[in-house]
Structure formats: C-alpha cells, structure tokens
C-alpha cells in the first residue's frame, strides 16, 4: 500500500438547487436557495453566486426570510439545527438546536419524528448566545405531508392549512380549532384527487390546492365544518406541483410537469396567461414580496427568474443530474469542459475550472413533450475526436412493441459561432443498440475515423468522405464533406462490446464477448485475436506513451489482463473486480475502479509495472461506472510519489447517487482557498433611483469638500478605507498608546511621502498657522491630527529634501508604497 495522506476526495459540480423552494429577498436583489449542506445567495440580476452560507452539517431543508428583520434569514437542516444568517454579508448569527430532524420551515418549524411528520411550533428563545437550544415545542398538527409545499400559513398567520393524501386540514390559531375536509378517492372520470400543494390567499379567506389530476381547487368558507365550498380550475393535464399567490392576491400562479407557468386572475379564473416552454417540469414557484419577480425552480436543477410573467430575465443553472448518465463522462478537448447528458435530448458542457454550466447543446432537435410516461429520444452515447473538431452522438428511442429508433449524428465544430454544428445524420446506423463508440486518436492523420459497435453483431467504421470530386461544371453539388460507412466488420456473429483505438490510431481493438480482436484500420485486416476465457470482456484500454505496446482488458470474471501486443501474449493478469478501467491521455497511468463489498476502491498503476502507484480503499459507496481524466490547465509540481499521478490531469468520477467527485491534493486545496477569496463579487450596491439620488449627492459633497480642505485634498486622499486606520479609529482611546508615541511614528512614516509637493509649501505654511490655533479641537477629532501631522511632515520633508541623493529618493518611494503598514505593525504589537 502506498501512503496517500494528502489526497482527498471532494465533491464537485454543486448540489441540487431545486430541492426546496427558493426565497427572494424583500428588495428583489437576492435569491436564497438551499443547496446541499449550504445556503446559496444568488444575485437576481447577474445570476452570480454571491455567498455560500456554510455551517450546516447535513442537508439544508428550508430557507426563510426573518419576518421581523428582512436582512436575516433562517435556514433549517436535517442535522437538527435552525440557523440565522445575515445573508448580505454571509455571516452566521445564531444557531438553535432542535431535538429532532427539521424538515421544513413555515413560520414556525415542522419537525419529523421518524416516519411520522408532525408540525410543531417552536418558540425561539431570546438570548444573546450564539448557540441556543430550543426546548419549548408545541405540536400543532400531526400527520402532515413531508412535502413542505403542502403546508402553508394563511392571511397573516391567522390559520395554517396543511394537506396530506386526500385530506385538507385547516387550523385556526385563535380558536385553537382544526377543520378537516376530505375528498373521495377517485372521482367519476378516474382522476386522482390527492393533494399535492397548497397556497393561501394573502388577504382573502381562500385556500388554493393543487391535485394529482391537474385540477386546482379554490376553497372558501372553510371555517365551517359543513358549509364549505370549493370551485375547480382545470388546465394542467398532470399533477400540479406548485401553487403561489402574488403578494397582492390578484393572481394565482401554478406550474407542473408541463413546464408552463400559468397565471390565473383571482376571481376571473377564465382569464389565464401562459409562459410556455420553460425547459423542464416546474417544481417550485416563488414570488418576490413586491410582486415584480417570479421565480420557478425546475426539475433539471435550474432556477428561472421571470419578470412579471412575461419575460425570463435570468436563468441560474446547476449541473443537470438525471437518474443516470447514458453517455460517458467526457472532456471537450477545446474548452476542457466536462460533457455529459443534460436536459433530455441535450448534452451539457460544464466548466470544471469555473464550476459553472457553460451551455447545453441540443442534440435531438425535437420539441420535448413534457408528459410523464412518454418515450422520447435520449442521448445515449457521445464521443469527441482528439482535436475537438468532431463530436459524434447517438440518440435512441425505444417504444414498446415498436422498432428501436437510432440516430447517429456527427457534429463539426464551427470556429465562427464557437459551437458544434450538425454535419451528418445517419438514421438507423445499426439494427440494434450501440454498445460502444470511439474516434481514432491520431491527430496527424488526414482522415478522421469513427468506430461504433452494436448488439446486432457488427462494428462499423465511419469515415469522413473526401470533398466532392466534381470539378468545373457544378462545383457545389455537396460543398461540405459528410460521413459515410467505410467498413462493416463481424466476428463469428458474436456481439461486440467495447472498442478502442491505440494511441497512434494504427490498431483497433474490438472485444467480442471473451475474444479481443485486433484490426488494422488501414487495411481492415484482422491482425490477431486475444482471449482469456471464460467470461466476457468488460473494458478495453490501450496503454499510452511508453506503455503503448500494452492492451488492457477487464473481464466479468474479476480478471484484469494486460497483453503485450509485440509478442501477442499475456504479460500479466490479476484478479480484481474492476468496474471501470480508464487511461490518462497525458501519461502512462491507468485508473481502475474496483467494486468490493458495496464500496469502490481506486487503483492507479502503470501497465508496465505490476505495483500500483496509488490506491485508496472505499472511495465511495456503490459502484463507480463513469469517470474521466480531465487535463489540468497548469501542471502541478508535486514531488511526492503518491500524488504524482495527479500532476497532469485530474480524475473525476460519478458515484451511484450521481454526485460528481474528484481527487485533490493538499497544495491544490490551499491554492484554491486563496483564490476563492478574491472571487467574491461586490454586488451589494444596486442601481436604484434612491441610490442615484444619494450617490449624486455624495459625489457633489466630495467635490465640494475638495476646495475647502485643499491642503489635504491636494495631497493624497485620506486613507479612510484602509483596514489599519479603521481599526485604529474604532479601538477605544484608552487602549491605544499615547498620542505622542503615535505621532512620532506617524511623522517618521510620512517623512518620505511629500518630496514631490514643493510648490505647495507656501500654502501649507499659511494653513499651518490657522491649524495651530485650534490645536485643542484637533485633539478631539480623529482625522485632523493626521492632517496636521502630515503638514508637519511635509515641512520636515521639505527641509530634508535637498540633502537627499537620488538613491535615497528611490528608496523612499519604495517605502512610501507600503502606505499605512506602519499602523498595522503598531496594532499587531
């Protein structure tokens, strides 16, 4: 075993931002949303993440603005704490411990105990301490739904409405009384009546409930057991997933799987506005307190900010994670971004360096029908060629009882638009599912070749056809080259599984169950066959660089084999259950993920040496089936043997739960920490009319100040912004050293700074007298002494100036740049 003390597995790609309903702050400038174990603060105008409020140790389950102070927000988490944050500065203010797991905040907090969810009121004790334990819990409702959208406060907190299953429960706080309304299991037409979400009108006694069958019911008169009424609105064809009233109560917003935001006029429900094709199913709708912004979160990890139901103004998009990744993880050789399945029918390009989604490439180019249970085209395979000029994608649609529909598409990179443009579509390239696909790696060869293997027992080579050979008469029969089939190969009617090109593109290895066939792509000759029975080959991989004579394969029978292609014989083999084997394109290293007892171990080795370079047990739980080596932007220089394999490229992998993880070294982490501090974007001052007015006023003031205090203004501006000065000014006076001590130091530091201002000497002489008169006053104010001292310093410098040599001047200038470091040094001491 090799030591690996400083290599850690870390999460990448962010967490879900659509897990819970986002919150818009009162001034509509920020958007808070729960994201994994932290709360993220986004700017609604720039889409940037401003703060990441970290502190919870488990999944954050809800975020809420504090009603009494709209600059603070509560967050609750499954770790049993409620935390209070100042989200503008990103500071944790208070932590409250709750005895059990908090699932969602409403105004008070609902708490789950094991499987049964109950709503409890928590009286938050007033205390100055940061950590408070709240013990006063009083159960309000029991047996509520685990979905926080199904519990809501109504009309300024007079009552609370909660729906679970087929029952709606309304609890009035004043009367301490609960009313229950039930619906029948199924109505006549077979629609399901289960409640999905609840919303309360802000001013009116009206509760809107969404149902499984797409209906919205508006309940009125619900403070009577018998005489309650409801009216039904029906537009959605499947379950309503979110409902929200606008703050004035004039509109009701609803959304569901159709990905259409519907705006109903309250009391004129036949008037509706639609905002269609928002991209993916709507999971939550939030409205800003002033009603100007709507915000919808979608099932594809996206938050859309909509201005007054007409225009999408911003989209905050996280890494789209489906249930599974059909395509392998890939690296786009041009942008060095990670490429994998995104939205249905799309490929997403995710920048690993900036941790941000770059763009989605529409592969299928068909209208996506948002309806559950519909079989649509899915991107199942994709491959890049070595230079990033070509992208091959396979899309597939399997319908019950119908033939499999397959399309192979080849995309060329367009320099002008900087994106991929469809070049060739091959419909039905194979008769059955495509199992593997790879491009020839050779970058220098004239022709690009793609090989695809399929369950129909053939593998096909596709080649870019040369430019059309028509000359003279009709030059533009087909101006751009397109792809066509070059060769169809088969071996005993066995099903090919994996294919791999050698590093120089001179050999192609295709595995047919337990047999590996090696072909020459130049002549399409079967060169040799290698086999290691009894089980089928799972992975196939050529060595790189100095190890390019080796071909590695893993079999279903827990065997890792290494063949030497020069002798066509088995070099070595070892018994391990490798679920994934991949080669680093920039070095000889190979990574093997092994699945053992529900955990995955990682081994990094060179094919030429039987000893692993690095190994880590229990990297994550479950099987790792997707991983990729991403080249680094700049090489790391680590001399430690165990982390040398991370120098050129970084290993990313997807766990069973679709978390993107990577390995980092300690030095890298430190560097990252340092750089992240500079990345915070100051967006705290937005351009409001008030700001414009005030800002102008302030500028004028500054302008006006200048002629008055000409002495100080003509010299360097006051260093109020400096941290050291701030600290000096805020420290109580009795703690500071004596003024005379300070003064002498100060003067010394300033001796240098005024060598250039000889022409102001007379003015300064005059002003000095005035200031000497009011010496006592100056003592009281904090800023003036500096001026005065500066003047004195200037004088001193004036007298000293002629005596200084040029070298001295240069030296002094250098020291001058240090600015107020003298003060900082003083404070530290």
């Amino acid at each position: 075993m090799v030591e690996h003390g400083d290599i850690r597995v870390v999460h990448r790609g962010g967490s879900k931002i659509n897990f819970r309903k986002p919150v818009i702050t009162n001034d509509s400038r920020f958007l808070l949303c729960a994201s994994g174990e932290s709360v993220k603060v986004f700017s609604t105008s720039t889409e940037e993440c401003i703060h990441d409020l970290r502190g919870h140790t488990d999944l954050v389950t809800g975020v809420l603005i504090k009603p009494s102070n709209h600059l603070q927000a509560f967050s609750c988490s499954a770790d049993g704490t409620v935390r209070l944050w100042d989200f503008t500065d990103g500071i944790l203010i208070k932590v409250r411990l709750l005895p059990s797991i908090v699932v969602c905040p409403v105004l008070s907090v609902s708490v789950s105990s094991q499987s049964l969810f109950q709503l409890v009121a928590v009286h938050l004790p007033q205390s100055g301490d940061q950590l408070v334990e709240a013990r006063e819990l009083s159960a309000v409702l029991t047996g509520i739904s685990s979905n926080p959208a199904a519990t809501v406060f109504g009309r300024g907190g007079e009552y609370i409405a909660s729906a679970n299953g087929l029952q709606l429960e309304v609890y009035f706080f004043k009367k301490q009384k609960a009313y229950r309304f039930s619906l029948k299991e199924d109505n006549k037409k077979g629609g399901k009546n289960t409640f999905t979400c609840v919303a309360c009108h802000p001013n009116d006694d009206c509760i809107a409930t969404g149902h499984e069958d797409g209906k919205i019911r508006l309940w009125r008169n619900f403070n009577h057991k018998k005489e309650y009424t409801y009216s039904t609105l029906h537009w959605h064809h499947s379950a309503v997933s979110s409902l929200s009233f606008t703050p004035e109560g004039t509109n009701l917003l609803s959304g569901g799987i159709e990905s259409v935001l519907v705006q109903w006029r309250y009391n004129q429900e036949n008037q509706r506005d639609f905002l269609p094709r928002l991209g993916a199913a709507i999971t939550h709708i939030a409205v800003s307190p002033d009603g100007a912004l709507y915000c919808t979160s979608h099932s594809d990890n996206k938050i859309t900010i909509i201005q007054s139901c007409v225009k999408v103004s911003a989209v905050i998009q996280g890494l789209v994670k489906g249930e599974s990744v059909g395509t392998d993880l890939m690296i786009d050789p041009r942008s060095k971004s990670l490429v994998l399945n995104g939205k249905p029918g799309h490929l997403q390009f995710y920048s690993l360096q900036r941790d941000k989604l770059l763009y989605n490439l529409d592969i299928v180019q068909q209208e996506y029908i948002h309806e559950s249970g519909l079989q649509q085209f899915e991107v199942v395979k994709a491959a890049f060629d070595a230079s990033g000029n070509w992208l091959a994608t396979v899309e597939e649609r399997k319908q019950k009882g119908a033939e499999l529909e397959l399309n192979l598409k080849l995309w060329a990179f367009d320099e002008q638009t900087q994106s991929f443009v469809l070049n060739t579509t091959i419909s039905a390239p194979h008769e059955a599912q495509i199992t593997g696909m790879c491009f020839s790696h050779a970058t220098d060869s004239q022709t690009t070749m793609l090989v695809s293997t399929s369950k129909d027992g053939h593998f096909k080579a596709w080649q870019l056809a040369a430019q059309s050979q028509t000359d003279g008469k009709q030059p533009s029969v087909c101006p751009c080259p397109s792809w066509s089939c070059d060769f169809v190969g088969a071996y005993h009617g066995l099903v090919p599984e994996c294919c791999s090109f050698s590093a120089d593109g001179s050999l192609l290895a295709v595995s047919f169950q337990e047999v590996v066939t090696v072909w020459s792509p130049a002549s399409w000759e079967l060169l040799t066959t290698l086999s290691q029975p009894p089980k089928a080959i799972r992975n196939l991989c050529f060595g790189r660089l100095s190890c390019s004579k080796y071909l590695l394969g893993t079999t279903d029978s827990n065997l890792l084999c290494c063949w030497n292609l020069l002798t066509c014989s088995l070099e070595w083999s070892t018994s391990m259950d490798v679920s994934l084997l991949l080669a680093d394109p920039l070095s000889e290293n190979m990574a093997a993920f092994c699945c053992q007892a529900g955990c995955t171990d990682l081994f990094v080795f060179k094919p030429s040496e039987p000893r692993p370079l690095f190994s880590q047990k229990a990297v994550c739980s479950g099987m790792v089936t997707r991983a990729v080596f991403a080249p680094r932007e700049e090489m790391l220089e680590s001399c430690e043997e165990s982390s040398q394999w991370l120098n050129r490229s970084q290993l990313y992998f997807l766990t069973q739960y679709m978390d993107l993880m990577t390995f980092t070294t300690k030095t890298e982490e430190e560097r990252l920490m340092a750089s992240s501090k500079q990345l915070v974007i100051d967006d705290s001052v937005a351009m409001t009319p008030f700001y414009l007015l005030l800002g102008k006023h302030r500028q004028q003031q500054q302008g006006g100040d200048d002629p008055q205090s000409g002495v100080s203004a003509e010299r360097t501006p006051l260093p109020q912004g400096s941290v050291a000065i701030k600290e000096l000014l805020q420290t109580p006076a009795h703690v500071l050293p004596s003024t005379s001590f300070l003064c002498s130091m100060f003067v010394q530091s300033l001796l240098i700074s005024v060598t250039d201002s000889s022409k102001h000497a007379e003015e300064e002489m005059e002003s000095e007298k005035e200031e000497e008169d009011s010496e006592e006053e100056i003592e009281s104010s904090r800023t003036r002494p500096e001026q005065q001292a500066a003047v004195g310093g200037g004088e001193a410098a004036e007298s000293a100036a002629p005596a200084m040599t040029k070298a001295q001047v240069r030296e002094l200038r250098r020291v001058k740049k240090l600015d107020h470091s003298w003060l900082a040094g003083l404070l530290d001491s």
Binding site: R277, Q366, E367, Q399, H458, A490, L526, T529
Partner: protein
C-alpha cells in the same frame, strides 16, 4: 422561454440516378424536335462533310435534312427528298465526300443519287430480293450491298457493273459496314447469327464470328481493331486483331437492339433498342453511364459529328432530333433560375450595419411555422394530421405526411389523431397507406399507423364499400410484399453460400496465449462484411 422546435422532415437520399459528368454531358441537350415521317424510320446517316446534313430513310423515300445548329430548333425542313422508289427504301448512305448517296430498296434495285440532282444516276440490278444494306468502300468507287437473297455484292460505280458476289450467309443480310482504312475489307452481319469479314482480294470471307443472335447492326471502331455487333438483346464487342475473339458481351436492353453508334471522341458507345431506350456505355469499362428514354421503339440512331445532335427514328414514324445546348444557353437558363426569387426583396434592410450613434430597436424575430406545426404547437393533433394529409402534400411530399405521423406517434397521440374520421377521411388515409406503405423509407412509421387504424376501425368494417375495397387492396399489397421479401431472403441466402464457397480460407495468425477455438473462420466473415459495406 425557448421557441417551438418545428417537426423535423427527414431528408431522404434521392433515389435514381447519380449526377456524374456523363449525365451532365448527355443531359445538356435541348427539348427534341419531332418530325413526322411517312413510315418507320429505318436508317439515318450523317454526311461526313460540313454542313452535316443527314439522310433519313423512311418508307418509300430518302429525305435529306439540312442540319445547321445555329438556327432555331424549329427550322428543320427537309432539304431534299428522293421519292423515286417503287417500294420501301432502305439504308440511304452518304459517300465520304458527301456528294453521292446510295439506297437500297424492297424491289431489289440499288439506286445511286447525286446530292444535287433528283433522278438516280445509276441503278444496280442483280439482287433478287430486298436490299437492306448499302455502303461505299473507302476508295469511293465501289458499292457494297447486302440483300435478303443471302448474298452480298460489290459494284463498280463508273461502269455500274457487278464486281463480285459472296454467297456465304445462310439467312438475310441486314447489316454491313466497310472499312474506312482498307478499300478491300468489309463486314456483314446476317440473321444466321454470324458476322463475316470479307476481303475483296481473296473472293471469300476471311473471318467468321458467331454472335448467337440475328445480327441487326454493326459498328467498326475508328481504329478498326474492334468491332461491335448488336443482335437480340446483346451487344458484343469483338477484337479483330486477335482473330475475332469476343471481348465483351453486354446485355442491358430487354428487347432487340436495333442500332449502334459511337460518339465522336470514341469514348462512348450508344445503343438503341426496341425497348425505347438509348443507352450510353463507357468504352473503357463498358458500363452504362447514361440512358435516354423515347416514346416508341427505336429503329435507328445517329449522332452528329462533335455530338452536336442526337437523331433517333422510331417505329411510329417520328424522327426525334435533339440539339446540344450552346454554352450561352445553358448558362442563361441557370442564370434565370437564380434570378427568379428576387433576392433583394428578402434582404432589404437586413444587411444594414448600425452606425455608432444609432439606437438599435430590436424587433423580436417571428418564427414562421408550417401549418401542421402550428396545429402541433396547439396540440391539435387531428387537425395537424388533416393538414399534413392535404392533397398536395400527400402526393408531392409524402415525407412531410410521414414525418407528421411520426411526430404524433412520438407524442403518443397518434391514436387520437387517427380516430374519429368519417368515410372520406378514412379512405384518404387508407389511400395514402396503399401508396406509401411498402416504401422502405416510410414503412417503419406507416406500419404502426396502419395497425392503429385497423385497431380503431375494425368495428366499422363492412359498413362502407369504399373502405372495404381499400382494405382489401391493402391486404393484397401486403401479401405481395411479404412474398417479395421472402424471395429476397432466399436470394440472399444463396448469395451467402456462394460467397462463402468462392472465397479462399486464410489462416489467421493465432497468438500463443489465445486458444484457437475455431478462430480460423474469422477471415471469411470479414470479407463477407466488406461486401455488405460496398
């Protein structure tokens, strides 16, 4: 808010001919000029000297057309007509200087005309039956004739006497050609399936070749090393220098080949047949490179020098003349096509680049959708299908209809769209299915649609005679198609066995580590796969 993505119409590869240099060359002819003659046009011959007039032998006359291509295509009037025939005339041919013309006749008399005169200069009597073959020898003073009395004769023009008689054929002589390089050699083809090369110096045939079919036409290459004969459905090429060895046998027509012709540069061979086609072969590999279709069975074919025009005579007594387009004309036409959509209207203002001080008011780009897409956008599935089934679309662009059906199927609403149709709507649908179901490009989509239609409407079968008839037709069509498929599979199986036995087996180099568990057959399967790829 993303915009609506319109239905993708699959672009299918155009079936039929590929565009090659040859098609471009041979398509570059104007619309044919058609001239009604008095009977079936049996022979056409171009004068070897400019202006290249051509003689057309039809029924009882030999017309003589002036061919001047600068004039419009409709100025094709016969320059001269020889009508001094008692019966059907045959084989009017020019002498190599273009001054004399000879023609045979059903009444066994061969007549020689001066191009300027009207009365026959000489009459050669001696044959006992119709003379179908006449030609001048290369020294210009002798005439070769071939007749239905199984003989061919040589005549002297100045004395109008018979020089020699060759009685070697055992059936009608219907074609013959004299050598252009040697005054003594000539070749005749007969209905006794043979071709005979005669040498006037030795009084008998020097070479005999068996064509295997009654020979209808003969052609000598300019180098005279190769001879082309046409008879039955075959066109055969013989190598005379190798003693009449057959070189190629072409069978591209499905009826008797009647006429042969060589393009001016000798690169292309043309054959005309009773099956109404003229085929153009490449003379290096003898592959068909182009094909002309005509309205009736073709009896005669000629190509003007420099391929300036193609003249074809047909059994329905129509002479069809195609002139080559002049380069200006062909350019002009393409220029017109380009000008037709007034390009400037479309780009008006679109290429305007805003200046620095301009305030840009952006207008939302309106998306133009096809009718069916508009309906699909509104989820009006039945209406979308109705629009896609409109008569024009259905007939001219069936791929649009199929694409809409496919899109509906993808949306899971094809059932709804197909249901609830009246008799007229259903018969329209069935008509479309009958027309396109067996098209391999559309079959996968339409089969599911057809199954759905049968499921939906099986309860109303028997209520409408129109629909019942169409269903029966559909059934018939499917049965026939299944038979075809079965046949094809059988053929495929036969081919597989043939290839497997024909290809030599090669040993695959096996590594020491791998076990040779029947790996040797790998090569055979590879070569088969290659065949599939081509």
């Amino acid at each position: 808010m993303a915009s609506f993505k319109p239905t993708k119409i699959q672009v299918y590869p155009k079936l039929g001919e590929k565009v090659t240099q040859d098609t471009l060359y041979w398509k570059n002819y104007k619309a044919p000029v058609q001239i009604k003659e008095f009977g079936a046009v049996t022979h056409i011959d171009f004068s070897p000297v400019a202006p290249h007039n051509f003689a057309v032998t039809a029924f009882t006359r030999v017309c003589w057309h002036l061919f001047v291509h600068i004039y419009g295509p409709f100025s094709q009037e016969p320059v001269k007509t020889f009508t001094r025939f008692k019966d059907t005339a045959y084989s009017g041919r020019f002498r190599s200087d273009g001054q004399l013309l000879v023609a045979g006749c059903e009444d066994s008399v061969v007549r020689l005309f001066d191009v300027g005169g009207k009365v026959a200069l000489r009459m050669f009597r001696g044959h006992t039956k119709a003379v179908h073959v006449t030609d001048f020898t290369s020294d210009r003073y002798q005439i070769l004739t071939g007749s239905d009395d199984y003989t061919c004769r040589l005549w002297d023009i100045p004395n109008s006497t018979e020089l020699n008689t060759y009685q070697e054929h055992t059936d009608y002589i219907r074609c013959g050609v004299t050598s252009k390089l040697n005054r003594d050699l000539f070749i005749t083809g007969s209905y006794d399936h043979t071709l005979k090369l005669f040498d006037a110096r030795v009084d008998r045939s020097v070479m005999t070749m068996d064509h295997g079919q009654p020979v209808e036409s003969l052609l000598l290459y300019p180098s005279e090393g190769l001879l082309v004969s046409a008879g039955g459905r075959y066109v055969k090429v013989w190598d005379l220098l190798k003693g009449g060895q057959p070189l190629v046998s072409l069978k591209n027509h499905h009826k008797t080949v009647t006429s042969l012709c060589l393009s001016t540069n000798g690169q292309r061979l043309l054959s005309a047949s009773l099956d109404r086609h003229v085929k153009v072969y490449n003379t290096t590999n003898y592959k068909v490179v182009h094909n002309f279709d005509y309205a009736a069975s073709i009896l005669s074919l000629a190509l003007a020098p420099d391929d300036e025009s193609i003249v074809v005579g047909m059994t329905n007594s129509i002479l069809s003349i195609k002139h080559r387009k002049s380069p200006e004309e062909s350019k002009e036409i393409s220029g017109q096509q380009r000008r037709r959509p007034s390009y400037r209207v479309f780009v008006k203002g679109k290429n305007y680049v805003p200046k620095q001080d301009d305030y840009l008011v952006s207008k939302p780009v309106k998306q133009h959708l096809a009718k069916y897409d508009k309906q699909l956008k509104k989820f009006n599935v039945s209406k979308a299908l109705d629009t896609a089934l409109e008569t024009w679309t259905r007939h001219r662009k069936p791929e649009i209809t199929v694409a809409v059906i496919k899109e509906l199927d993808r949306r899971g609403t094809l059932n709804n769209a197909l249901a609830g149709r009246d008799e007229q709507g259903l018969s329209q649908l069935l008509n479309f299915l009958i027309g396109n179901l067996v098209d391999p490009r559309f079959a996968p989509v339409l089969v599911t649609a057809a199954e759905m239609i049968l499921d939906i409407y099986h309860s109303v079968i028997g209520q409408s005679p129109v629909v019942d008839r169409q269903l029966l037709r559909l059934q018939e069509l499917l049965e026939r198609e299944i038979d075809y498929q079965q046949d094809l599979l059988e053929v495929l199986g036969m081919l597989d066995t043939m290839f497997a036995s024909a290809l030599p087996r090669k040993e695959v180099p096996c590594s020491g580590a791998s076990r040779s568990n029947g790996l040797a057959q790998g090569e055979a399967s590879t070569s088969r796969a290659q065949l599939q790829a081509t």
